[in-house]
Symmetry: C3
Subunit: 126 residues, 3 copies
């Protein structure tokens, strides 16, 4: 039951943004085994002055179509699962929205199971 | 000295949003022993297309009044303290704003004490 | 290759905000050894009702010019490196923008190396 925050430059359509959200949920389902109906994504639309990125670093060339994904998830996925998630998300975004793979920046923050309440004031996983 | 980021659908009044912020600080005070005058909350108001959530998952039914809390706090609270925090926050929001407990989604990210500067360029807890 | 999210009250100029972003990247370069061309910062501009902070806590007096920095970085920097980062960032902001050091609030979240994809669907550090 991860939650994802996406940063994006202002100007993309609602349809585009919804597809970005769908894609990260689908990739989490396929690579991390997150249930298909667990979909929690918030999107932040930034003005250019508030969206600062390196156009070239680590051998990756980026454009204004950059998407920054901050995923918070339970601790314990393997390195291979994480690699599969990165690859899957980049592929889905390229297929569906023609996003260049270079424009998919991802960070995962991991937490313990007792660090979630999915509602109702209880710790569902503890 | 936790810091909380809240995601909420656009359209709630300033009074409502201030009460949401107050409630998470009060719950952190009561359940985690955070000093009463330590209050750090930022609120993100999203358009509907930027606020994606499962209306039903993990047996919890949610509505557009959903509140997503991302709390960053020092490592070391017990599972019981976390459970008390979830319960207290849901109760306060129900009492004060008639928020359904199902609409209170919470995630805690934990960090080490040296990972904070509360101002003045120093690490107050290290 | 850290990524930083900055919360700030609405009303500062683009020049000011760009300088804030530059300063955190420069401080990360100087204190953490982050490559100079690795610059990833998103800025959130809040209305007053959405930017709640203690005007006085932990012996620090703050004003509406408060800046809240949430830095996500690789695990493993020493306490001394973190202290150097806090001090450097406060100094740079004071020199360049006359920000009072009391108005520089910083939190660091640490993650493992395999928790990053800097683009192209791969885990560059794993």
């Amino acid at each position: 039951m991860p939650i994802t925050q996406v940063s994006i430059l202002q100007g993309k359509s609602e349809t585009y943004r919804r597809m970005v959200a769908d894609s990260v949920c689908d990739a989490l389902h396929q690579a991390f085994g997150v249930p298909e109906d667990d979909r929690f994504v918030t999107i932040l639309e930034h003005q250019a002055a508030d969206f600062v990125f390196s156009p070239l670093s680590m051998g990756v060339a980026r454009t204004e179509d950059l998407l920054i994904f901050r995923v918070t998830a339970n601790r314990g996925r393997s390195v291979d699962q994480k690699k599969a998630f990165y690859s899957r998300l980049a592929s889905l975004l390229q297929e569906r929205l023609k996003v260049l793979p270079e424009n998919v920046f991802i960070n995962i923050v991991e937490v313990d199971k007792e660090n979630w309440s999915f509602g109702s004031g209880i710790a569902q996983l503890a």
